[in-house]
Structures are given as structure tokens and as C-alpha cells.
Amino acid sequence: MHQLYACITEQHDLRFVAVAAIICALGTYSTFAIGRQVFREQAWQERLAWWATGVVTTSVAIWATHFVAMLAYEPSLEIGFSISLTGASLLVAVLLVGSGAGLVVARPTLPGRIFGGGLIGLAIGAMHYTGMSAYFVQGTLHWDVRTVVVSVVIGIVLGSLSMVVGFHPRRTVRRLAPLLLLAAVCGTHFIGMDALTISFDPSVAIPGGSMNTTILSLLTANAALLILGVSLIALRLWRLNKLRHEAESQRLRDLADIAVEGLLICAGDTITGINHSLERVLCLPREELIGAPLQRLLPDLTAADIPLSHELDAILLDAAGERVPVRVIAQSIVIKAKPHTVVAVRDQRERLRSEAEMHRLAHHDTLTGLANRRRFNEALAERFATRHGEDAFALLVLDLDRFKSVNDTSGHGMGDALLCRVARRLERATHADDLVVRLGGDEFAILKGGGTKLGEIQALAERVIDLLGRPFLIDGHVLNIGASVGIALAPSDGTTPEHLMGSADLALYGAKEDGRGRYRVFEDGMNARIQARRSLEMDLRRAIARQEFTLHYQPQVDARTGAYDGAEALIRWHHPERGVVSPVDFIPLAEETGLIGPLGEWVLRTACTDALTWPAHLTVAVNLSPVQFRDARLATTIRGILAETGLPGSRLEVEITEGSLLQDEQRTLAILRELRTLGIRISMDDFGTGYSSLSYLRRFPFDKIKIDQSFVRQTPEDKDSAAIVRAIAMLGTSLGLKTTAEGVETQAQSEFITDEGCDQLQGYLISRPVPLEAITALFASSPLALTA
């Protein structure tokens, strides 16, 4: 060690040693700075470029260190260098360093680094001794072989160690690497110099063409420094540029990651980046996708296919290979001077789910979960639209037989629970390809899948009737309902949805008429009935305009005096073709179609006008339909008619049936009270039939009870009828209401009824209903008593 120290301090010019040391330190520093850069680069071209730069820098550093140190060596003799061998020594360094560095780069494992570093260490020795062979001095060189071996081994060991340490994951450890390499270079060199002894030999001549040492030293040092400096500056600039790019890319990535929608960056059809949102959708980390072809995510699609202006529906494959419905739209951008495509990938699953849910809600009945009328209409229309030639299908409509009474007596909660159970049973009665629908209320329909084999359809109807006919146990109550089913077949019973539905409804109507809990298949006769009804309805509409109606009047007389009290107005329809149509046939139709409104008004107006031609003490009685009471303006209308015709309210009597009282009680009561304030009298018609609840008589402001003619006709022979007539008459007396007997046909009836205390008589015995002229004549001719 002392010897080595003496070698450096005593035999060397320390200024040159310092320059050599600086070159060497810079060189070893750049070795590792550039070396790390090699590993940072991804592209092989860049890796190669930096590897070459590193190799040249390191080799030049080793070589220049040796050379400048050699210049510092002062054997106090004349010296010189062989240019070719000096060049060769640099070449040796480059080759060995190159292979060592190549090994480290190719195999950055520990053995790779040990061997690669060893090669670099060997390069130092090899270069040194090649360089020494270029050294000419006026004397003989003597080598201490042991020391030479030591110097080479030191170089190899330290070089190897520097590579091991230089790419260590810990930074503090890595910092030792340049120092170790520095030690390798310096160690090899100075121990190598220590192994050298020069004995003066004046016979040795310095060969011609040797370089002048001073100029050489300056040139070498400057060149080495220049190379090292340029390499380091290049490295620095490169790093800065890289960092800026990385920062830019990072910013781009951050921005992309903030985006809610999935983003995909492609260079051509190669994926170069994806954002967090897309990672989440795919359940794949971006590392797995970068470099993959676009088709791995979006099969059957190239970047050029994706439109820039509008979204395109596509399928995205996720990690599990699931097909995710997406919409894609592209945007071109330039990243690092290269054109890229940014593809926005919008996950459609949530939207499709909510659309499906909305669709389900729109097409299903919320209570029972069955398809609703809308879905049914669509399905029915579709069945018609997709029907080919002889394809036939069956439609079943059904309603529950006693549902309304359950709903009324047990409450809506129970009714709802029942409907849900009904829905489940219907599902059990049907097959998967049958569409079970709740049309509303207690009406259901089944659009049968499959063909129209009558046996199958009947079996289905029977299953439905059987299952719904079974008892329902709900909250301890036993509910017995049952169902009636109407069946229509398309296309024979209807070629349009409306037509088919109408036929099925008619069949249902028929099933109910047959008695409940049955099914009926549509028959043409049913259609004829509906046709007749339709044509009657059309005629009825025209009849008002054509003034085909007239009023007939049946007089009412005082039971005791026989004097006329007034008359009941009765409508007659003289149809130009049908002749006289009975009110029994057209009044229900007028009520159903709403024509009763204008018709009723016409009756009231005409009756009031006609009554004005009668003696002033006579009243006119007009029947009001329950349907007319649904119109809250009824009282106003009547007030208007009275005002218009000038008939005093006290001369008008309205006759109402129980039906009017069964509906909205409050509204009916309000109308009746208002009529009373106009002086109009109110009669309870057809009393004795229906419920004839006594409570109605108490609650509503009646003036008169009309005993139904079915009882009157059977008096006095039939004991029950006689008892009823007597009871009603007594009831009237005790409640202070007048009683009128309708349908009095015989003298015996007249006498019996009068004896029982009835106030008024009406019937064929007195007069049949007659036209206005006749009644006016009747009133005028015999104003006085008819014998009682």
C-alpha cells in the first residue's frame, strides 16, 4: 500500500493525476446515469442509442483516465506513444465495455450484472495493458506479474461490484456505483503502474512518429472532457424532454381519469391508453390493454369505423368476455406529434336497464304484475301484423263473477289481494307462451299462444274457470268468486284487434247470460245481435233530429173524486221503417250511449209546453233516468226549461226509480232538494220492486209513492199483492206521502185500491196513454169526476 501511495505521489505529476481523476469521476458518473436511461427507455432503438452512448462515454473515460494518468507518470525519462496501439487500446476498451454493458442490459439479473460488470472491469485491465504496450520509454519495462494479476483482478471485482450496486433498487446503494467503478479504473491503473519498473537503457530508441506528450495530453483531456460533457448534457436534455412529455402524458391521463365516460386512446388500431372509468367497466388494468389491438375490446370495429359526429352502438368485451352494450364516438388528437384517436365509450347498461324498467312499468299492471292493456294492445296488434295466411289464434276475455260484491263488502284492500291471487292462478292455468293481461278492474284477457285447436282452447278455459272457481282464503275470510270466459278466434271472429275484442266481449256476455262460471265461444248469432244494436243506436241518434219521437199522456185521477189530477208523459218512437219502437228497447240503449241526456231534455221541454195547454190545476209527470242524475247540472237544466216554457214548477212532477238513489247519494239528494225549491214534486216510481228500502223514503224528499203495476194487476185476488198494496198505502199515509196505483185495469182493482187508502189511480181503466190532442180533448170535455 505504501508502495502504491509512493508510486502515485512520487512518480506522478499530481496535476495530471487530478485531471485524470476528474475525467474518470465524470466518466463513471455518466456510465450509470446513461445506464439507467437505457433501462428507462421502452423502444429498442432508444435503448440501443443510449447503450452506445454509454459504452463510448465509459470507454473514453477509462481510456482518457489511463492516458492522462500516463502523462502524469514521470519516470524522468524521455517517453512517447504509439498512435496505432493507443488507438487499439481505445478499441479494446470499447469492445469489452460494449459486451459487458450489453450483457447487463440484456440480462439485468444478478448473475448478468456480475458477469457484465466483470467484463467492464476486464476492459479496464485490457485497455491498460494494451495502452502500456503503446508506451515507449528510453529504458526497459519490467513487470511484476503478481501485481499485474492483482491489478486486473481488482478491476474485474470492483467493476463487477459497481454493476451489481449500480442497478440496485435503493438509491443510496446506487450512489456507490460510480465510486466503485472509479476505484476500479484508478485501482487497476495505479496498481498496474506499481507493477512496473523501468530501467534506463539509452540503447532503446523512441520510435519516430510518437506524439508529443504535452500537446497530446491537452488534446486528450479536452476531447475526453468534451465527449463526457456532451454526453451528460445530452442526457440531461433528453431527461428534461422526457419529463416534460411524461408530465404532459400524466396530465392527459389525469384528465382522462377524471372523465366519467370510458376513454380509449388508440394509435391506429393499437390501444395506447385507457382511463379509470373504462378500467372499471372492463374490470381490467390498463397495463393489460396497452399495446393490444382495438378489436380485443371492440370486436368487428376498427378505429376508422368509429364516427366522429355521432354515437355508434357497439359491443364491448369485458375481462370475463361478457358483451357490454356501449355507444362509441371518436375524436382525433395529436399526441407527441403523432395522430391518435380518442374513443369515448359510453356504457349503455344502466340506460338500457332503466329503459327496460320503464318499459316494464309502462306495460305491466302495478297491482298484479300482469301485462296491462297497453301491452295487450301491442301484442294483439303484433299478432295480427305477423299473421300469415291461415295462421289463427285465440283470444280469451274473462271477468270475475262476484268481484264487485267482494270489493264493496270487504273493502278495496281485500279486493286488491284477491286480484293478485287471481293473477297467480291465471298464470298457473296458462302456458308460458300465453299472454295473461289485466285489462282493468276485474277484467282479464289471455292471448293464447299456439294454434286454435278447439280442444286446447276449451281445456284452457276450463282450467281458468276451475282455478278461479276455487275458494280464496284471505285473512281468515273465505271468498268465492268465479269467472266467465268469452272466446274469439282470429281471423274468423275478427280481422282487426277491435273486431276480435268485440267478438270476445260478446262471447263473454253470452257466457254470463248462460249463467256464470262458464265459457262461450263466439258465434255469428252474437254478431247479428250486436249489429242490430248498432243500427238501432245509429237510428236513435238520427231520431232526435228527425223528430221521430212523440209524447203520449196517460191521465191520473183522484181515487176518491175521480177528477183528473194530471197525466204522466210517456215517450213513443215512430221509426220510419221499424214502426213503433218500445221504450223498453231503446231507453236502455239511450242510457248506455248517453243519448238519454238530449232525449230527456226534449221530453221535459215538450211535456212542459204541452201541459200549458191544459187547465191550470193539472200536473204533468215526467220520468227521469238514473243516468240523467249523473249530470250535476240536471236541476239547472230543468229550471231553464221551466223558465223557457213558462210552466210553474208546481205543475211539474218528476218520477224517479230506485236506480237514481243507488248511485252517488249526496249528488242525487242535492239535485232533488233543488228541484223541490222550484216547487217540483218528486215521485218514487215502481215502488215495491227492487230493494224498496224504507230508509230511502225517509232520506229523500218524496211527495208521492207509485205502487208498481205488477202488484196492482194481481189485486184483489192475490193475497200477497193485496197485502203489499195495503202496506204501501199505509206507509204513504203514515209518512204523509201521496200514493198512486199504476196499471189499474178493472173496476174491482179500482175499488179495492181506493178502499185501501190510495190517493190516485192510473191505468187502462181510466185511459190508455193517448196523444196530446186526445188528452187535451179529454181534459177539456170531462173536467169532472169519473165514477169511483
Partner: protein, 155 residues
């Protein structure tokens, strides 16, 4: 918890040979026994001349759910509820569901159809049927050796 008891009749809608049907009934009984244990129901199923007569007893909710299942079951036809009452105690407490197949002698003596048609839908008739079902079960071991009895003890 108040007990309820239910008795219904129905027509069998099972298809197959006599052995097949016996097997199917045995399956129904086994499945219903298993479910009844969980639901706290007990009862018996008597089958005679193509008819089922079944008694079920237990908590209201379980009875309602089970009966609704029966009413959705197309292996029955014309399900007719004979009795649905609150009960003080169980008649079939020992059996979660037991299958009674009376032999021909018994069938002649007491056909369920006759029993139920005599005093139709009346509580007396339902009571009589339930008592008959119970006595068929209890006397099975001694004189009615021909009756097959598949039972699942209710514990």
C-alpha cells in the same frame, strides 16, 4: 296462536296406472308432510273413488298459504271447501300429513262422497268426516289390516 282447521274435497286429476297414481299420491303426501313440519301444520289425506278429502290444521297464515297452493294445483279438480273453522285443538296432532287409503270394505261402508252429500256442506258433515278420518287412522293397526297407511310423525 289460534288454530284453524280446514277440510276440502277435490277430484283427483292424476294420470297413470293405479300403481303410478299411488306413487304420485305418496309423493304428494311426503312432500306436503315435509313442508308441513316447517309450517306447523298437521293433517290427513283420504283418497277414495277418485276423490281427495284433506284436512289441514294449524296457524291461519300457513293454512291459507297451503290452501292457495292447492288451489293453484292442476292435479286437483273441483276443489270444494267443506269447512274452515277455528279449532281448540288438533285432531291430527300426531301427523304432519298422513295418507289414508281405505280398503274396499271401508269404501263401501263410508264413501266420502256419500258422507258429504248427505248433509252437504254442513258443519255436522265435515265434523263426521274428520272423525271418520281419525278413527280410520287409529284403528288401522288392528282390524283394518288392509288399509295402507303412510304416516310421518309430527314432532
Amino acid at each position: 296462536m289460534p288454530l284453524h282447521r280446514l277440510l276440502y274435497t277435490s277430484e283427483m286429476a292424476l294420470i297413470g296406472s293405479e300403481t303410478d297414481i299411488r306413487q304420485q299420491v305418496a309423493d304428494i303426501v311426503a312432500r306436503s308432510a315435509a313442508r308441513n313440519v316447517a309450517d306447523g301444520l298437521t293433517g290427513a289425506l283420504l283418497q277414495t273413488r277418485g276423490m281427495f278429502i284433506q284436512a289441514l290444521e294449524g296457524p291461519l297464515a300457513a293454512i291459507e298459504a297451503t290452501f292457495e297452493r292447492i288451489c293453484c294445483d292442476l292435479r286437483h279438480r273441483r276443489v270444494d271447501l267443506q269447512e274452515f273453522v277455528r279449532a281448540d285443538s288438533r285432531v291430527f296432532g300426531e301427523w304432519s300429513m298422513v295418507n289414508i287409503t281405505p280398503d274396499r270394505t271401508i269404501e263401501k261402508l263410508f264413501t266420502a262422497a256419500e258422507l258429504l252429500s248427505e248433509q252437504e256442506h254442513e258443519a255436522v258433515s265435515a265434523q263426521a268426516t274428520i272423525q271418520l278420518m281419525r278413527s280410520l287412522l287409529l284403528t288401522n293397526s288392528t282390524p283394518m289390516t288392509h288399509s295402507s297407511l303412510q304416516s310421518t310423525r309430527f314432532s
